[in-house]
Amino acid sequence: MNKQIDGVSRAGNGSVAAAAPFLRIRNLVKRFGSFVALKDVSLDVTSGEFVCFLGPSGCGKTTLLRAIAGLDPQDEGTIEMGGRDVSHLPPAARDFGIVFQSYALFPNLTVAANVGYGLVNRRRPNSEINARVKELLALVGLSDQETKYPVQLSGGQQQRVALARALATSPGLLLLDEPLSALDARVRLRLRDQIKDLQRRLGVTTIMVTHDQEEAMSMADRIVVMNQGVIDQVGTPSDIYRHPTTAFVADFVGSMTFMDAEIAGPDGVRVGDLNLHCKDAKGFVQGSLVRLGLRPEEVRVRNLDSATQNKIDAKVLSLDFLGSFCRARLNPEAAPGITILADFSANLMRDLAVTEGQKLAIALPPESLRLFARG
């Protein structure tokens, strides 16, 4: 799988690559009956990193996480943790803490007993365990909730208890499966920062599963974008956003307008009757059919002059007010068949007094036009 190895090595160019990977996954395959949930997945995670598995529901994120934990062992492939081959070890012989979507807190135990659950069987004096539990609860900001039972806590508090319990034994790897998805939006935003902050302070290698691209972008050092059992791309959030290697990634992370196009030359493409300059065209053979992608926020309206490349006239089909910006559907006059999405800031809307039905000169910057193989 070229793409993945490529992704791995590309990520390796960063500063994190100096150390040997803490987690080394090679050629993982997982089947459920005849259905292949993971298809030859390889991935490296460096010590201290915060990695997000991102992808639509059902793409295999949880399956990969559970394979790493040893809860649902893979059918093929190897997993190394801290240089140790753990491919065939049971969960308890691996070194991780895990937080589930449901939190799986023990309802009949107090908050303190939940957090100390993994400590009790390590034959340590009670005083030491109590001190550790207090320390963990302080860490997640729940010092005053020790004696409560899980049902008496809010969703966000339960989530933090689960986090404290997972961290109690100081695991080398923290696994989080959609830890925020059961919470309402406001709590989710606050916990995002708290988890990220905690992870940075403890320096614990962390893998978080999410289907929320915004969550992944704001928390992860690196994002692993998954699609139907394969890793499509691995990279830093800005890397993934700016240089998506597949149309799927481009569409899933942020939004993108796609148009069918044909390579017209080393730096140009043709979309219907439109001829556009495009930096990305170099790698393609002239005449080949491709998909052209453009992020809505890259469409330019201001400061256009005669030297501006890819300047076209378009009609505003509709405007959707989305809070701090407006999403416009634009129809190029030279190519009536296609619709381009564009995000206009509230500022710009006011300055240019954009209205539906209006004609507008826009530019599609050549460096913003992304090309993807068709098919």
């Binding site: 049971p90 308890a92 803490g97 449901s102 799986a104 309802p107 030491e128 039972y149 997972a166 695991p171």
Partner: protein, 567 residues
């Protein structure tokens, strides 16, 4: 982090987990072995016995040929089926209207009416037969109402079965009618559908599966019940009494085995149909169904209240007759009260010991059975080891539902009694009676435990593995406390049923381990009906006391111990 000191070295954890998986595998192996030993092997013994002669030689279908060419024997099939069909036809409509009253009307005292209807569950089946004898028997109080007819025979059996089977049918029908989707009724109303038409086109089809299921359950109960036919059947032969006569009376084990195999047919059919019905029923009830809130309808509600009161009164009255009669000096001539019928020593050398044997047996079955069933269900539902073994265990656990007590009892006779079986030293001991009772009531207990376990977060085991806590520790500290209500439900279910059952244990008691329910049969056989009624009364009171204690503990004690359930 100071926690570094607490992080474990990996050596012990490693060996710890292999021990974890090993113990779970061992647990599954023991479970499968236990279920094979207590359920599968006895049934196998019965099956093979029906193909052997008295000396244990294989004789092919010879026993079956003899059976079906002996009119007195296979005539019982006709008798059993006939009685069962009539009982079913009578009990289902009565129970359906009662269930409709409880679920679809706005009447007061629903809880009380439901409890009264469930009373027969706490008595041995033959209690209703004893009552009927007191009312309509040779010395019956109301004998005149029969105009010279006799209660001994099919009429008595049917009447007694109607009382005995009523709560079984009612539970199923209440569940079926309780599942209604209010939207269907709203649509029918909106379309201006007439009341009777709504009943025939919406209500009845909605309860269709419940009705089918109830019919088969009642039919099977009647065919396989032994106590009632024994007490009130007179000269009227049915399959259940045939099996008893062949084995206990004539020591003809081979023919007894054939009768047992015949008895298995309706029970297995009912079991299969129940499984199919349940599968359909799940599909029927969509997750978005809106529960039906009964609307007021004065006339209907008054009529149905009167109906329910009459039925509940009949049930309480009939069961009460036996209780009352047990305190009567000389029925029906001297109705003054006395306790002399409870001096069992005057009728039977065993005196009070059968009662205490029953108590001991039911308590042991409840304790041992609950432990085995719950641990077994945990292994089946919550572990990932030995998936083949767990599937087999589940299958075996579901088997007893399809096996009438009489058939299982016969199987135990052949299996435990066999000369080659080293376990035959246990024959006639309390241990066999306990084990047999646990096996007899395994399925319902198993399903109860599974249902409770399925409601627990499936990740508890994963969490405890990640925290390197052994699985049995989490089982004891988390799973069992959470499931306490279900565990007590199981225990009380096994206790009450072990206390009241006659059919399975009638073959298995030994000298010194005679049970109360068996003593009832013996006293009745000896013509000491008052003694039988007294013993039956003791059983009913004990079963009810256990149930009330359970309800009380549930309400007032466990709630306090389970502060964690409250917000």
């Amino acid at each position: 982090m100071s926690g570094a000191a607490l992080s474990s070295d990996r050596g012990p954890a490693l060996s710890g987990i292999s021990r974890d998986a090993l113990i779970l595998r061992l647990g599954v192996a023991i479970l499968v072995g236990w279920l094979l030993l207590t359920i599968a092997f006895p049934l196998w013994s019965l099956l093979s016995k029906s193909f052997q002669d008295g000396d244990g030689h294989f004789v092919g279908l010879k026993n079956y040929i003899v059976y079906f060419s002996t009119p007195t024997l296979f005539g019982s099939i006709y008798n059993s089926v006939w009685v069962a069909v009539v009982s079913t036809v009578i009990v289902i409509p009565i129970a359906f209207i009662y269930a409709y009253t409880l679920t679809r009307t706005k009447i007061p005292l629903k809880g009380l009416l439901y409890s009264a209807a469930l009373l027969p569950l706490f008595a041995p089946s033959l209690l209703s037969a004893i009552s009927l004898i007191y009312l309509f028997g040779n010395q019956g109080l109301l004998k005149g109402f029969l105009f010279g007819g006799s209660i001994y025979g099919p009429a008595g059996i049917v009447l007694a079965q109607v009382f005995y089977c009523f709560p079984h049918a009612l539970i199923i029908l209440v569940a079926a009618l309780g599942l209604a989707d209010a939207r269907l009724y709203e649509v029918a109303d909106a379309l201006g559908t007439a009341r009777p038409r709504i009943f025939w086109t919406v209500t009845l089809p909605g309860a269709k599966f419940g009705l089918i299921n109830a019919c088969f359950v009642v039919f099977t109960l009647v065919v396989t019940d032994f106590g009632i036919a024994k007490v009130i059947g007179g000269q009227f032969n049915v399959l259940a009494t045939d099996a008893y006569k062949q084995v206990v009376g004539q020591q003809n084990f081979a023919m007894g085995a054939v009768v047992g195999m015949v008895l298995l047919v309706p029970a297995v059919a009912a079991f299969v149909i129940d499984r199919m019905v349940q599968r359909r029923q799940v599909a029927l009830l969509s997750a978005r169904a809106v529960p039906l809130e009964p609307k007021e309808n004065k006339l209907r509600d008054w009529a149905l209240t009167a109906y329910a009161l009459v039925i509940a009164g009949l049930i309480v009255g009939v069961l009460g007759t036996a209780v009352w009669a047990s305190f009567i000096t000389y029925w029906p001539y001297n109705l003054s009260l006395t306790l002399k019928n409870y001096e069992f020593g005057t009728f039977d050398a065993a005196a009070w010991s059968p009662y205490f044997n029953s108590l001991k047996m039911a308590a042991l079955a409840a304790i041992i059975g609950t432990a085995i069933v719950f641990t077994g269900a945990y292994l089946v539902e919550k572990t990932k080891v030995a998936s083949g073994g767990r599937a087999i265990a589940h299958l075996l656990a579901m088997l007893p539902m399809a096996v009438p007590g009489l058939v299982l009892g016969l199987g135990y006779v052949f299996f435990v009694n066999a000369a080659w079986n080293p376990l035959n030293i246990f024959y006639g001991t309390l241990i066999v009676l306990v084990v047999n009772s646990v096996a007899h009531f395994y399925t319902v207990a198993h399903i109860t435990a599974l249902t409770a376990l399925k409601q627990i977060d499936p990740e508890f085991e994963s969490v405890s593995a990640s925290l390197k806590v052994p699985v049995w520790r989490t089982f004891a500290r988390v799973t069992v406390p959470i499931c306490m209500p279900a565990i007590f439900d199981i225990a009380i279910y096994i206790f009450v049923n072990a206390l009241t059952t006659v059919s399975a244990v009638i073959f298995l008691y030994g000298p010194g381990t005679k049970l109360a329910s068996v003593a009832i049969v013996h006293m009745d056989e000896a013509g000491v009906t008052a003694g039988a009624a007294a013993m039956a009364t003791l059983i009913v009171l004990t079963a009810l006391a256990a149930k009330l204690l359970h309800v009380f503990l549930d309400r007032f004690v466990f709630m306090r111990l389970q502060a964690w359930r409250r917000r």
